[in-house]
Symmetry: D2
Subunit: 360 residues, 4 copies
C-alpha cells in the first residue's frame, strides 16, 4: 500500500498544511484526472490531469498568473499571453509530450462549447515525456479524454501517483507521477493558502534527498533497479511541471515570484535541471476576481505588499518539496511499454532510513 | 489581377532584393501552403503554411533561432526550448488560432515518422485568428493537411495573399494573408540574404502607410467598406506572425536582435500592437550547421561581430515592411463565413495615390 | 530661433495634446535640468535631466513601472528591482554614459538625506553618449549637479533641445537632445494623459522621416554637414532613452506594454536600433498610490482592463514620435569638444519640404 | 582560527575540486580585494572585490556571459548590454549598495585610462547591503579603492570571509562575506573547470543546512545571538551576488543556463529569496576568445553541445553550495557600526553536529 509522505511520519518544514494537504485546499481549485491504461492495440500508460481554478469559472473569471522556466526543454502553451496580460483564462492541462497540442485544442473547443461569448482561446496545456512506459507514438489521447478530465475535476482529496498525466512518469529514477501538498500562512491576521501540484518525471536517483537526507544514495541500483537502461533516442528526457496556486491577492509580478520560488523546493529534493528536462513552473492567484464582463469597467483590486510575501515564499518552497516527495511515495511500481518496469520507492526502506537519521 | 508591391512601382528602402524577393531567397528555405476552402458542410477559409529551413533537413540539422513577442495575444509553441537552447529543430507552421495544437502534434508525428532516431518533439506552430471569414469553430484542419503543406514546400517564388495559413486573414482592414520579401547585404565582402514571411491579420485602415504615405486615410470606408462591422466576441482580434530567415552566421542572441527588428518594418506600415493582437516574431539563421549527430563532438561555429549587424538590421526592417505590403496587395477580395466580405486594397487607387505623393 | 514641431504647423496623429504638450501634463510629473557648459579647463557639453513623479513624493509613494530594452547597448540602473517588483521608487535621471554611476549614487544619497526612514536605494539612472561634443573623459558631473537638477524640477513647460542630459546629444545626424510631448485620451468617460520625454542621441540622417516624409534624404550632407566624420573609437555610439508617463491606473504588466509601444514612435521617425545604440524605454503609471507606509496594510488598486488600453498605446506611439521630432527641431547648432559642430536641422528647409508634401 | 569547509572534513558532492578550490582555478581568472576598515571619522566595514577574467585582458578580449535574477532586490550594472550581446567586457565588481555607482564609473575611467581605443564603457558592478555593520551612509569608497582592487587581483588562493566587498556582510544570521569553490569535470576526454565566488549576505539562521543537515536549527539564538535585532528601516535587507566562471566553450544561452543553476546550490544551503534580497547570479565562459580587434573579421567559435552540459550544471550547483558555506565558515566575528556584532559560526559546534549526523 502506497502512502503519502506524512503518513510515513515525515514532514517538510514547519508551516501547517491545509485540510487535504493538496492544491485543492485553495478554495475553488479542482483537480481532475483521466487515466488511460491499456495494453492493446498498443500500450497506453498515459493520461491528462486538469487543474481547474474557481470551480471551473476560470474561463470567464480570470486569475493573475505567471510562469518561470527553470529549464525549458519542455512545452507549455499560452505563455505569450500570460506574459503580456499577467492572466490565466483557462484550466491548466498536464499530459504527455506528443499530445500537448490535441489537449490544447480540445480546451479551445471546450471553451467555445461552454462559454461562447467569452471563449478563451489561448489555453494552457503542458507536458512531460512518458515514452519509456507508454507507447507515446501511438497518440492515445483524444478530445474526449480532455472533456472527461474536466468533468472529473473535484475539490477535496487528490489522487496522486500513477494517475492522469502522471500515469507513466518516472521521478529520481523511481516511479513518479502526480503529487500535491499545501501550506497555510497568516499575514496580518489573514490566512492564505498555498497549494502545489506537480507532474514529476525528472531527477537522478543519487541526488534524491528527503528532508536533506540523501536517501537516493542509500537506495542504490543494487537495492532497486534503475529504469532507463536503454534511454529512448540515446538521451534521457525528463521533466517536471509545477503548478502553484494561492488565494492571496497577488499581482502578476508577484505570481512570477512564487513561480520562481518553486525552484527552491525542487532543488531541495535533488532537482538540478538536466539538459533534457522541461522544468516549467506556473503560479496563479485567485485573490482578485477578474471577470471577463462587463468589459468597460475599471477593475478594483487588492494587493499584498511585497514585503509581506515571505511567508508565501516559504510556503511555496515547502509545498513544492513535499509535492514531489508525495509523487514518489504514492506512485506504485508500473510495468509498461516493451515490458519495462519502473519501481516505486520501497516505503519500508525509506522509513527506516529516515528513522535513523532524523533525530533533529 | 493582384500584384506585388514592386509590380506597382513601389520599392521599400534602397537595398537590393534576392532573386525572388522572397524568404526562399535564403538558401534552403522552402515554403509550402495547404489552402482549405469550401462552403459545405461548414465554411472553410483557412489553411496552414510551412516555412521549412535547410531543404527539410532542419529536423536533424538545427538552426540558431530566437523570438520576440511584440504583443503576446497569440500563440506559438516551442518557445521555452527556443529560449533555453537558442535553437530551432523543426519546420515552422502558421495556421488558425483554434488548431495550433493539432498542427503542432502533427509535426511531432511527422518528425517521429520521418526521422525516428533524432525525432524533434518540441516543434514550432503559431497562429492568427481567421474567425471572421472562416467558420473557425468547425476545426477544419487535420494531420493530413500538415503533411501536405510540408510535402508542398518548395524553393523559388512563393504564393502570397489568400493561401495557406493566410487564407482567411485581414490586414489593416483590407484582405490580408501571406506576404514575403527579401534583401541582400554585403558585409566585409560576403553576401548575406535576409528573408521575411508574414501571416498578416492585424492593423487599422486609418494607420496604413505605404512608404510613409498615409494611404489608409485616403482609401477610407467611403471608398472600400471596412470588415468587422460586428466583431466576434465584441472585440477585434487580430495578429501577425513574422518569420525572418537569414543565411548569415548568427548566434541566438543575434537572432533575437533580428527578431525584435521586425518591429521596425511592422511599425512603419502602421502596426501599433493593439490589445487583441498576437504579434510574435521569430528569426532563424542557417549560417552554422548544427547537426543532431554525432552527439559527442564540440561544435565549430562562425559568428558575425555585433558591430557588423547593422546591414542585417536594416534588411530585416525593409523586408518585413515590404512583406506586409505584399500580403495586402496580393490578397484578393474574399467572401466567407456568414456571407462576410473582406476587400482587397484597390490597386488602381493605391497606384494613383503613390504617383502623386512619391516625388522624393 | 528654434521651434517645436507644432509651431512649424506639423502635427503627429490625431489625438489632442495636453496643456503643455509635455510629460509634465501628467499631473505631478516634474522635470528638472542641470546643464553644464564651459570650455575650461576641459570642454563640457553635458548635464543631467531629472523626471520627478508625484511632485517629488515618488521616493515614498511609488509608481508601477516597467521597462523595455529595444537595443541594450546602454545603461540603466535599478532594472532588476523594477522587473521583480513592478515599481519605481525614485526620480529618473538621464545623463552621459561615463557618469551614470555618480548620478545613481547621488540619488541614493539624496534619498537618504531627505527621506531617511523610507530611503529608496535602488534608483533609476540612465545615459546616452555625448563624447563627440563633450570631453566625456573629464567626468564633469558631481553630486551637486544632481541635487540641483532635482531642485530645478518644475511642472509646466519643459525646456527642450540642448539642456540637461541632452546638452551634447546628436539625433539623426542633426543636433538632438531633450524632447517631450503628450496626448490626452478618453476611456469610458475618463480622461487620461500620456506624456513622453526623450533624450535623443540616435539615428541616421537618411532614415529621418517627419510624419512619413523622408526629410532626412532631402536635407543631405550637401545641405547640412554630417557630424561623426571621425567617430570616436572607430564606431558610432548612439542611443535614446525614452520615458513614458501616464496618470492611468495601470499594473506593471501594462506599463511594460506601454514601454514597448515607444518602439512604434521611434520606428516611425526612422530609428532602427543600430548595434551601438542603447535604446531603453521606461513607462510608469501614477494612477495608483503605492505609499511606502504603513507597511502592513493590503493595497487597494484600480486597473484599466487590457482591452481598454488601445487609446493609451496610440497615445504613446504618437507622443514618442513627436518628442523625438521636438528634440530635433528645438536643438540649436552646437560647437564643442575639439571644435566639432553638430548642426540643428534648418527649420526653413523643413517647413518648405513639409508644405510641398503634406497634402493629405 | 577560521577554516574552509573542507578543512572541517565536510565535502559537498562528489566531483573533484580544482587546485585551490577557488574561482581562480579557472585559468586566467584573478580575484582582487580592497578591504576598508576603520572606526574614525565614521565606521567603515566595507570594500570592493574584483573578479578579473583573462588575466585582466577582459577589457579587450571579451567573454560570453549571462545573468539570472533569482530575486531582483539588488543592483547590477551592465545588464542590458549583457542581455543584448551575450558578452562581458569588463572585470566584475562587488561592493556595497550605496556605492555601486562610484565603483561602476571608476571602472569606466579605468578602461579609458588603460585601454583607450577599445575602452569598454558599460562595466559590471554589483552590490549587497552592509549597512548593519558598516556606516554605509558615509560613502567610504573612492575610485582609488577600485583601482587598488584591480591592482591587487591575483590568481591562486583567494582570501575569503571579511574581505573586499564581503567585509561587512552577514549570511544565514552568522557573519558572512566572500566565499569561493571550484569543480573539475571531464566531458568527452576534455577537462573543464567551473569556479564560483559569492558575496553572501542573505538567509535565515533556521534555514541553514550543511550538506542537508539543518545546522541552523541546531545552533539557535540561544547558542549564538542573531544579528538584526533592530533592522535598519524596519525591514531586513539581504542579498547574495554569485559569480560563476568556466573555461568551457559555452555560448551566451549556455552561460544563462549555468547562471540559473546557481539557484540549486543556493537553495540547498537554505536560500529562499526573501523579498528584501538581491540575488543576482552571473556566469561567464572564457572558452572562446572574443578579441575587440580586428573589428572586421568573422569570429570562429567552439561550443559544447547542450546535452554535454549536465556535468557543468552539477559542478555549478556544488561549487555554489560550497562557496556559500566557505563564506560562512571563514568569516570571523565582527563588531562594527553602532557597536553591533555579527558572530562567526562556531566551528567546533558545526564539526560536532556534522560528525554525529554524517553517517551516510
Amino acid at each position: 500500500m502506497r502512502k503519502r509522505l506524512r503518513e510515513l511520519g515525515i514532514e517538510i518544514g514547519t508551516l501547517p498544511t491545509g485540510k487535504y494537504n493538496a492544491i485543492t485546499d485553495v478554495a475553488g481549485v479542482l483537480v481532475g484526472h483521466r487515466t488511460v491504461i491499456y495494453d492493446e492495440p498498443r500500450v497506453a500508460r498515459t493520461g491528462v490531469t486538469m487543474i481547474v481554478p474557481r470551480n471551473n469559472e476560470i474561463w470567464h473569471n480570470y486569475a493573475f498568473a505567471a510562469y518561470h522556466s527553470f529549464n525549458g526543454n519542455g512545452g507549455m502553451t499560452g505563455l505569450p499571453w500570460m506574459d503580456e496580460s499577467g492572466m490565466l483564462g483557462s484550466a491548466i492541462a498536464i499530459t504527455n509530450t506528443h499530445q500537448m497540442g490535441v489537449v490544447r485544442d480540445a480546451m479551445v473547443a471546450y471553451s467555445v462549447e461552454n462559454d461562447y461569448k467569452d471563449a478563451f482561446i489561448l489555453p494552457v496545456a503542458s507536458e512531460t515525456y512518458d515514452g519509456w512506459l507508454n507507447d507515446i507514438d501511438a497518440f492515445h489521447l483524444t478530445k474526449e479524454h480532455v472533456d472527461e478530465a474536466i468533468a472529473n475535476s473535484v475539490s477535496g482529496p487528490v489522487e496522486e501517483g500513477n494517475v492522469g498525466g502522471g500515469t507513466g512518469m518516472i521521478c529520481h529514477d523511481f516511479k513518479g507521477g502526480i503529487g500535491t501538498s499545501s501550506r497555510v500562512v497568516e499575514i496580518e491576521g489573514e490566512q492564505y493558502t498555498v497549494g502545489a501540484l506537480v507532474q514529476a518525471n525528472h531527477g537522478d536517483r543519487e541526488l534524491l534527498r528527503v528532508d536533506g537526507i540523501p536517501v537516493g544514495r542509500m537506495i542504490g541500483a543494487d537495492k532497486v533497479p534503475l529504469p532507463w537502461i536503454t534511454p529512448p533516442q540515446g538521451t534521457r528526457t525528463s521533466s517536471i511541471i509545477i503548478i502553484v496556486a494561492t488565494d492571496a491577492p497577488l499581482l502578476p509580478v508577484q505570481c512570477k515570484r512564487l513561480a520562481q520560488r518553486a525552484t527552491i523546493g525542487y532543488a531541495r529534493v535533488g532537482g538540478t535541471g538536466h539538459n533534457g528536462s522541461g522544468d516549467i513552473f506556473l503560479a496563479f492567484a485567485t485573490g482578485n476576481d477578474l471577470p471577463a464582463r462587463p468589459r468597460t469597467q475599471l477593475r478594483s483590486l487588492r494587493m499584498l505588499r511585497h514585503q509581506q510575501l515571505n511567508p508565501l515564499f516559504n510556503a511555496t518552497a515547502d509545498a513544492v518539496e513535499e509535492s514531489i516527495l508525495n509523487a514518489i511515495t504514492t506512485a506504485e511500481t508500473m510495468t509498461g511499454y516493451m515490458g519495462r518496469t519502473a519501481y516505486g520507492i520501497p516505503l519500508d526502506q525509506l522509513e527506516e532510513i529516515m528513522k535513523i537519521h532524523r533525530k533533529w
